[in-house]
Subunit: 531 residues, 2 copies
């Protein structure tokens, strides 16, 4: 049977915005609130169709479809923007804000009105011309960056970086800021975060991490390199990854795991959360920890309350808190000795030849190997955050105007030398390695380290609340931790900003000492220095 | 990295219908035509997003996502209907119709305006209440039908069939008709076709097919049943199916083949045509001929001209012509001896054990086995059209009011006995077997047989135009036939209605003699009677 193109959509009616506008006059605050939530849910459902287009584009789409896919995405995003910036929404927000419950602090109604107001404000503050200019500039810059990285040629990328920084500064000005222009950009990914706050936490973290890395290097120890350079068939890896993700609590009835070059997690909608990973046939660790990482994002997504779908109470807090979930399952759980007490026998059953003669301790050391290196995405738990701090310092200086695009390579290399004790051999392994700046994603990097910091602080609290977490992991019991995260984090939606959520759950504002405590304990044990 | 839900769509601008309406006044016919085509292309692109949702729903969607998928589809179809019935389109059609080129016969402009006018007319003629009533009735009836078929219980389905027939009669009246109410329904799938025309062709076809089937039965011959009841591993079948589809001309750079319970072809958009099939590990033929069938649809879809995408000149003529393409590749090519002269050595390499000792002629007989049976989708090339004629007679009588829903089983069984010489043992193997009526798809069935008839007539013409087709197939050369179909059928878009296209290509109106000639020749040879 042929699924005829024009018959593919039946003819049900959609709510018509025009009618709604006509009805607004004389709407009670309660009705306005109800309409606002329904409208926002409709918008989320519409946006979720775009998410599926994106997932398909990176998984199963035939290569010949790329132009048509670009057309589909442009159409959908244009319509989305139009819906999200409708003047009607402004009226609904104003009317719904008069609801008594919306005037209290942190009630469902207050949170929803507060966050929709914020999102609507951000969407309407940006002039359409600037949005289009940035879209064109980043489309061009991406292609140039791909080639520049390949050719190790910063010069061709330089003027594009200048243009993007210039337009992004305008973007920050349109969004508005007080202390630093960079704050406006941070706020898009980490609502309410400021450069000053982040600097205050990153400064001591930077010092103590550099000290830790120094101790690791001077220990002279390293795990056996043969363990993660053996024969690990991809099909067996995939099976193991799926079993591990299911065991920690990712629900495969409401999700999938597929293969892509660049792993990601896409929350398509209620009951539809899709992970991807990639397989190296000589090293299982990339696929497995990648899967646990994305499953951490996915468990957050699956933990959002379906009844609040489409409204801020059913959305995640920030990229930092999202990353705290992925890092917690990847590093604090997945790279722990307790986790491997349970999983190592299964791993050996899966790869009997590769792991013949390898003991639990040797494996545990191998998957926690730490060593200064040039590439962020290949770095380890101890060195990772230094890569981020470097990027944060440079991009905030670019946005504030104290660093010129042309000076990025020199500044990168000098700072890298200080942080890691290594000479950057070329820009490909230096300032050209990441995609973010070419896409205008300035302000995104710090959320990775915020994620690690929140993960550490939340995890220490979970240990207090849940008793013997290590004993639970050793027995394959991950439900207590997952349930705790569901209740403390996922079900809260956007009720609290990230720092406030952290205080509510742990009793303390965000502090770098939790992460350092975790890292010194783990790496002190492995590399033989005092925690 | 997490693909944050709200960031998944960037903020490009979409053309705003409101602005367009304001601009319409004083538009030249040329500008109106340009705007109309652009609008229709935008609508097609929007609809193509819905196609991807449908494809994903049947292939990779997690089961837990079904409710959210229903929400996505309802929203998209509602918005689609709103766009497709915008009053603005009516104005554009009227203005574009004044274009001199649009007043000539069968020019690109004339075809586009003519067909958009038709589609717009059909979409706007149906009252919204009736559309919604039918949608609810068919949703309910589908679930009841699934259960009724399982339980072999026509009685619970009866009242639902009555309701659907009643609403479909109203639907036909809203669309408008002259000679028969059934014509209005036919016209949706096969523009311009009428019951009277179809009856005129089906009547002699019915008689001659019954005669042919009688000769097959009385021959007493049958192929060796062991050939298609052996060990055919699914993975090897999949590889073979992909190679065969690629060899006949399906472009896998612009398409895919996946696995589903109910095979289909979905033309998602330019460069994106997706086929599905299913694998029976004891019989390769279902998967292979299913793949060739869907690839036939897919080759048509891939042959539509990309420059006309979204306009009628870039769309397929009708379901009958679409089916002619799938049946031609499945039956006229795929089940021919010439095809197997090329492919049989490859099939034996793929399944050496199952086909050990099986000669080409034995295989050719096995894949062309004919025998009266109860289930349409399991029937063969010789008996298939009798199943369709039965359904056509019954559904047109239901719509015209000369048959009551309650009398369907009795009438079905009596007619079946006359056509096939078999007693229908139960309604599960009788009038409850097909999904179409429960979904309101009345008027669809005849397009299957029209497809076979058009395929036969076009194929005989291709033989005349292309010389030794059998010689070409035996050498693995399918490009001449594919190129001929591209030029004669695919690139024509909707320029001609199906019967006119047939006359343009073959010089004759549709006639049943071509199909009968093909069938008598093939089955006469296999079963030992004179062609």
């Amino acid at each position: 049977m042929v699924a005829a193109r024009k018959k593919s959509l039946s003819k049900k009616s959609a709510a018509k915005p025009a009618k709604r506008v006509a009805k607004l006059k004389g709407l009670t605050p309660a009705q306005a609130y109800k309409d606002l939530i329904a409208y926002w849910k409709r918008l989320a459902t519409f946006g979720s169709v775009g998410s599926l287009l994106g997932w398909d584009q990176r998984t199963y789409m035939p290569s010949g479809a790329s132009s048509h896919r670009a057309e589909q995405l442009a159409l959908m995003s244009g319509m989305y923007h139009e819906m999200a910036t409708s003047p009607h929404v402004k009226d609904l927000i104003a009317a719904a804000g008069e609801l008594p419950a919306a005037k209290k602090e942190d009630t469902v109604e207050a949170v929803n009105v507060r966050e929709i107001r914020r999102e609507y404000g951000m969407a309407t503050k940006l002039p359409q011309t600037l949005v289009e200019e940035l879209s064109r500039a980043t489309s061009r810059a991406y292609d140039v960056w791909v080639e520049a990285r390949k050719q190790n040629d910063f010069n061709t990328f330089k003027s594009h970086l200048e243009t993007i920084v210039g337009l992004t500064r305008k973007r920050a000005d349109a969004l508005g800021w007080k202390a630093s222009r960079y704050d406006a950009l941070l706020d898009e990914y980490e609502p309410g975060a400021t450069k000053a706050e982040i600097e205050q936490i990153f400064a001591p973290l930077r010092t103590e991490l550099a000290q830790l890395v120094g101790e690791i290097v001077s220990s002279g120890r390293q795990p056996d390199p043969k363990i993660l350079n053996a024969d690990y068939p991809a099909a067996a890896q995939e099976k193991f990854c799926k079993e591990a993700a299911a065991q920690i609590g990712f629900d495969f009835n409401c999700g999938r795991l597929d293969t892509t070059t660049h792993p990601f997690c896409s929350g398509v909608g209620v009951g539809d959360t899709r992970l991807t990973t990639r397989y190296n046939p000589h090293d299982f660790s990339g696929a497995l920890f990648g899967t646990l990482h994305e499953a951490g994002h996915g468990i957050y997504d699956q933990g959002l309350e379906a009844k609040h779908y489409g409204s801020p109470m059913g959305n995640s807090v920030s990229l930092g808190i999202h990353e705290s979930q992925s890092r917690m399952w990847e590093n604090f759980v997945g790279r722990s000795l307790a986790f491997w007490k349970y999983f190592y026998p299964k791993l050996r059953e899966t790869f009997p030849q590769a792991l013949s003669g390898v003991g639990l301790d040797a494996l545990y050391f191998a998957i926690n190997k730490s060593q200064p290196s040039f590439i962020r995405v290949e770095s380890d738990e101890a060195t990772y955050n230094l890569h981020i701090i470097l990027r944060f310092e440079l991009e905030s200086a670019l946005i504030e105007g104290s660093l010129k695009a042309a000076d990025v390579p020199g500044e990168w290399n000098a700072r890298f030398k200080k942080l890691f004790g290594l000479e950057v051999p070329d820009n490909r392994r230096g300032c050209l390695q990441d995609v973010h700046w070419s896409g205008g994603g300035i302000g995104y990097f710090p959320t990775y380290t915020l994620g690690n910091l929140y993960a550490a602080q939340l995890f220490e609290q979970a240990r207090k609340d849940l008793g013997d977490l290590d004993g639970q992991f050793s027995a394959g019991e991950f439900q207590p931790l997952k349930g705790w995260l569901n209740q403390k984090v996922h079900h809260q939606g956007m009720r609290f900003r990230s720092n406030k959520l952290c205080e509510k759950v742990t009793g303390k504002p965000l502090d770098h000492k939790y992460l350092m405590r975790h890292l010194r304990k783990k790496f002190g044990g492995l590399y033989g220095f005092s925690a």
